[in-house]
């Protein structure tokens, strides 16, 4: 079984089919490249894999299972709770004045002890006396709308990027998306979020587990910055980094979640030749940590130099896959992308 199985992914935007029935497998420990001319649908494919888009057709299986929420008891419980709350709100929105007057205002005398039992009884009687159209009906409608909303919202969020990231697929972006006002360490710490356990109250009350977690996460974040060669600027704003370094920080941030798969979207874009050599070296070291790497790249020296396996996309269709040597030998792939003989 492959680590990641892409099965017949199709992505349509209106009349445009950006990705058309693409299937491939990625094995554990590979460096896997997706190449193709501009507009071939590579980034769209990445977005479909990482949950940014919901594929029009097809599925992505990671470690043999589709990463998506299945209906469970928690959904039912949430829908029930919201239904009760919404029903009650609808009922009270119409009748609270009456219930309050009968239950509380009529029974309360200033500075006298309040007869709680009688007040509750009076309010209940008043609630029972509410005609159907102003009591039970709005409550049922409210409950229905509430439960329906919960289920509808859940349907739309079954396969979101955060779920997929938490399952172990991390990514970088073609147009680098760092948290520019945060420091380098903080950027990496955000990437580490899925491994942190401290909740709101732990953070607010600074319970002992807070400082334990802070110690190990900050140490590890600095190690990751060291790994990509940015530890000297750890406390500077990410926005102050030069372009080449931003790519490295994005990789460190993505690695922070200890992903099984790292998806790199054109990591060498805009780099000079010596930076590309450094990047190749870095990608190999990432693979050696046990992370499977999938990359989109135009830089042929890099792709041919480090990939174990390559797939070629053209106009959204997969036109070939194999080892770098096989791709070089495949006429169709070479024509589509590497250019025909004599073109240089």
């Amino acid at each position: 079984m492959s680590l990641l199985e892409v099965r017949g992914i199709t992505m349509r935007f209106g009349g445009l089919t950006a990705v058309d029935d693409v299937s491939f497998n990625v094995d554990q420990g590979q460096i896997f490249a997706v190449i193709g001319p501009n507009g071939a649908g590579k980034t769209t494919l990445f977005n479909a894999i990482t949950g940014v888009y919901e594929p029009t057709e097809g599925s992505v299986r990671f470690r043999g299972s589709p990463v998506r929420l299945e209906p469970d008891a928690r959904l039912g419980l949430r829908a029930a709770m919201v239904a009760i709350l919404a029903g009650l709100s609808a009922f009270l929105a119409i009748n609270i004045q009456e219930l309050w007057s009968v239950g509380i205002a009529a029974n309360y005398v200033l500075n006298q002890p309040f007869p709680w039992g009688k007040a509750a009884g009076d309010a209940l009687d008043a609630a029972r006396a509410v005609p159907f159209a102003w009591g039970v009906l709005p409550a049922i409608l409210g409950a229905g709308v509430g439960a329906g909303t919960v289920v509808a919202l859940w349907q739309r969020s079954r396969r979101t990027p955060d779920l997929i990231a938490r399952a172990g697929l991390a990514r970088t972006f073609q147009n680098i998306r760092l948290f520019t006002d945060l420091s380098l360490v903080e950027n990496v710490l955000v990437g580490m979020d899925s491994r942190m356990r401290s909740g709101f109250w732990t953070n607010l009350l600074r319970l002992p587990s807070f400082s334990r977690e802070r110690t190990w996460t900050e140490r590890e974040a600095l190690e990751l910055l060291e790994f990509v060669g940015l530890s000297e600027r750890a406390h500077e704003a990410a926005g102050s980094l030069p372009y080449g370094h931003r790519r490295r920080l994005e990789i460190a941030r993505a690695l922070a979640s200890k992903p099984a798969v790292l998806l790199l979207d054109e990591p060498a874009a805009g780099m000079n030749p010596s930076e590309v050599v450094d990047l190749m070296e870095l990608i190999r070291r990432v693979r050696d940590r046990g992370v499977t790497v999938i990359l989109i790249e135009h830089h042929m020296k890099l792709v041919m130099g480090i990939s174990d396996r390559i797939v070629v996309l053209q106009y959204g269709k997969l036109i070939g896959q194999g080892t770098p040597a096989e791709i070089r030998a495949d006429r169709r792939c070479v024509e589509a992308y590497l250019g025909t003989e004599g073109e240089g």
Binding site: T50, V52, I96, Q97, E98, W100, S101, I104, A105, N107, Y108, L110, N111, F114, W116, A119, T149, L153, S157, T160, P161, D162, A165, R166, A170, R171, F173, R177, L178, F179, T180, D181, L182, S183, V185, E186, L189, V190, G191, D193, S194, M196, S198, G199, F200, N203, L204, R206, F210, E213, R214, H235, E236, A237, R253, A254, S257
Partner: protein, 335 residues
């Protein structure tokens, strides 16, 4: 690499010492009590808008919810009478729940749409408070409200200094809470959403839950501000005291002070509310004494200049210092 928050420490040192030089009562106290109340609301809005980047134009509604919750639970015209401190606790909790519930269906909305929803929520809240007169006493407001007690001693309404220090204490607690959250996993998640929502989600941060927690935190602080505002007057005042202009004032405080900056919010409250309840009031007094002012003429009365001044302040800050008077600084940075 923990940086000492010099501006914040200086602020609290100066504020705590000020009353010692100011006599026991006077305009100074009215102004600074209002400043502290709005510091709380501003800190709450700073969490929502400054940290998380969600434009909330309905902060006044959460203040109102706080004031009325506190009033209903503590006033002796109702049977609950749970006392000042329990009332404050319950208010903070209910404020948080209200924020959470408003956030649940709306935080899927982006940017402008959320701003419109929160604005509408503010208006609806006012209408409900005005019309639910069996519960809220309509336009009268609920009074009297209890005084805070410390053991057998209770703080009299005329004890201006006591109230001043009490409110300053609440501001200190709120600052501590907000800074602790900011420098933790929770706060980083908020900031990452503001910086880049998609990247944040692709790092595994659940956007909706994270935004809802920010919303709940902000609403709880605004509700606390509202409850203290009511306690200070011993009345909720009329519902119109929590109108849209109050929400805008809160927003001005955060923008003028510096979005996402705790110290900035404190300064913003001093500048904006101070202008309103100290400078303009003084100016009106002076104009009255000099016979220049004319209370019947809307334009000639300095009290009416505040909206002009809010607008001017906002334009000046956005043009000249777009990050605010005290913009947020990086943790551990040298500058």
């Amino acid at each position: 690499m923990r940086r000492v928050p010099v501006p914040i420490l200086a602020y609290f040192a100066v504020m705590a010492a000020l009353p010692l030089f100011m006599g026991a009562s006077g305009l100074f106290y009215d102004a600074f009590q209002a400043i502290f109340v709005f510091s709380l609301v501003g800190l709450g809005l700073n969490v929502v808008t400054g940290f998380t980047g969600l434009l909330n134009l309905g902060m006044a509604a959460f203040m109102a919810i706080g004031a009325y919750t506190f009033a209903i639970l503590t006033s002796d015209i109702y049977p609950f009478q749970i006392g000042f401190w329990w009332g404050i606790l319950a208010t903070v909790a209910i404020g948080a729940v209200a924020g959470f519930l408003l956030g649940a269906p709306t935080l899927g909305l982006s940017g402008d749409y959320l701003a419109i929803v929160t604005m509408g929520f503010g208006e609806i809240t006012l209408d409900v408070l005005k019309n639910l007169d069996a519960v809220t006493k309509g336009t009268q407001g609920i009074n009297p409200l209890p005084r805070p007690t410390f053991g057998s001693w209770s703080l009299d309404l005329q004890e201006e200094r006591g109230w001043y220090w009490l409110l300053l204490g609440f501001v200190l607690l709120a600052v501590l809470a907000v800074r602790r959250l900011e420098r933790s996993r929770s706060g980083r998640a908020w900031l990452s959403i503001r910086e880049d929502a998609l990247a944040s989600q692709c790092m595994g941060i659940p956007p909706k839950l994270t935004k809802m927690i920010a919303f709940a935190t902000g609403s709880a602080l605004a509700a606390l501000g509202g409850a203290l505002f009511a306690a200070l007057l011993s009345s909720t005042g009329e519902p119109a005291s929590y109108d849209f202009q109050v929400s805008i004032l809160a927003l001005c405080i955060v923008i003028v002070g510096g979005m996402g900056s705790v110290a900035g919010t404190l300064v913003g409250a001093v500048v904006m509310v101070g202008m309103n309840s100290l400078v303009l009031v003084k100016l009106a007094d002076w104009a009255g004494a000099a016979g220049v002012g004319n209370a019947s003429n809307v334009l000639a009365s300095p009290n009416n200049w505040k909206y002009l001044i809010f607008g001017l302040a906002l334009i000046l800050v956005v043009r000249l210092k777009p990050d605010g008077l005290l913009p947020p600084r990086l943790e551990g940075s040298a500058s």
